[in-house]
Symmetry: C2
Subunit: 289 residues, 2 copies
């Protein structure tokens, strides 16, 4: 998906947040912002928002020497999410349709994005979000795809969200061989391999680093071995907005599972901002039913 | 008040909004954004956010030839505000302290900022906002200053807000000679002289253009005649965040009346974001009581 003009102020705001997490020195923050503005000026060179975000957050790393400014935020989000597991278990446990419930749990995890959780009662927010139905959900298509599938690849998003994903991975692992893809280096609050394993993702799925360090899986930057896996698996479920932006033109069927967090993504998915979506992207137009 | 790093993404977002109001042509919008990013790169040259905002919105004018992209928005906001006058009249009419109530009405007008009113029930919002007390209010100081005053200058902010201001101007006009200052050219949704007169501000106050076209009164850019007036009047009441940013170091007593709409302004005023404030700025440190 193209980089929108709306992405420019949004990415600049996000890099300032990262700069402040990485350094208390206002002169360092200002130098990062100067370089970030210079990067904005080259926006035509970036195919997607995740590609530009990767470059801009690289500036934070270069100016501060800090590889993972969001480490503490991610640890906090993961701890908060782990505290919610009984609530999530109950939501799936009492459901008539456990797969549908687990898909909703996984989608709801998308609100664990740190930026959204300043001073909010997480339990109350998640409880309310769980009860919100999908604005659009290609569940029948997912069931059909899974019915004939041996292997399923789930592409992870943020660290706290990965805890929610474990409930979906567990459902999938009952009948499938599951792989959970993570970034190859820390980027914003996205989940890495170590964090995924610490969360216990590997009870249900093989954890694989994609080779890409952008906050969205850019296939052109993926490891060749991962790229083969991506092409070969029977079903791909992509979590979150960044992966949707990077994979929206992927040359294979992908189920995008996310909450539309900005107007441009809402427009692309034809849903209101804030809506939950499970959307099958089927570039060949031939969907197995 | 200095330009904060936080202002950079915020001003960039705002200029994109203006660009879209001024032109449907995405190529034109992109050229405006390119020039806006180039302006961001020179952020060290701007003393305040309103100074940079003026330059950035000048780009919209240059690229589109449109002098007043927010004309329709302002007309809509003014119409909405005029519809609220009976509610505002009642709020002041039943008040034990009509001056305090009129000050609160004027402060509440600060929410008429167009960006905040997408799809909200304006009457319900304004009713709730009216009932919210000031987080901090130098009302005793204002009363003391007014008690010995002949002339009062109120520096206007956005167009819809000016309707709310008329209730304060009416209270002030009972015992004072009142001047209402406006921008000298259209800038974002700020009130201009024609709009102020159409609203009926001139029933209670002489409408004067400041000579400045920034979204905040920059004294160095003011007309010399206006600057004399600013120095000579007995009491100055400055409305809104832009005027606060531009006048926070003014070399005279100023009462700042506003809602703190961002973290930096809240921090500067030592109040939470969203709080209403009436704050006396007294650079000499000698306040008449």
């Amino acid at each position: 998906m193209e980089l929108f003009l709306d992405c420019l102020p949004c990415l600049l705001r996000q890099v300032l947040e990262a700069a402040r997490m990485a350094s208390d020195d206002e002169a360092v923050q200002a130098r990062i912002m100067d370089d970030a503005v210079a990067t904005l000026a080259r926006h035509g060179e970036f195919a997607t928002a995740p590609a530009m975000a990767a470059e801009m957050h690289g500036l934070v790393r270069r100016h501060t020497g800090l590889d993972d400014p969001y480490a503490a935020i991610k640890a906090r989000d993961v701890a908060a999410a782990l505290g919610l597991v009984p609530l999530l278990e109950e939501f799936v446990g009492v459901a008539v349709d456990p797969l549908a419930a687990a898909v909703k749990v996984s989608a709801t995890g998308n609100v664990m994005d740190s930026a959204l959780f300043k001073d909010l009662d997480i339990t109350a927010v998640v409880r309310a979000e769980l009860e919100r139905p999908f604005a659009a959900a290609d569940l029948a298509e997912l069931r059909t795809a899974l019915a004939g599938a041996r292997t399923v690849l789930v592409i992870g998003d943020n660290a706290g969200e990965a805890v929610f994903d474990t409930l979906l991975l567990r459902e999938l692992a009952r009948e499938h061989e599951v792989v959970f893809a993570v970034r190859s280096r820390p980027i914003i609050n996205d989940v890495t391999a170590d964090e995924a394993r610490a969360i216990g993702v590997d009870r249900y799925a093989r954890v694989v680093a994609s080779g890409c360090g952008a906050p969205g899986l850019i296939l052109a930057e993926a490891d060749p071995v991962f790229r083969e896996l991506f092409d070969a698996v029977d079903v791909v479920i992509s979590k979150g907005q960044g992966n949707f932006e990077a994979l929206s033109d992927a040359p294979r069927d992908v189920f995008f599972l996310l909450k539309a967090k900005c107007a441009k993504i809402g427009h692309a998915l034809d849903v209101p901002v804030g809506a939950y979506v499970l959307r099958l992207h089927a570039p060949t137009g031939v969907v197995m039913r």
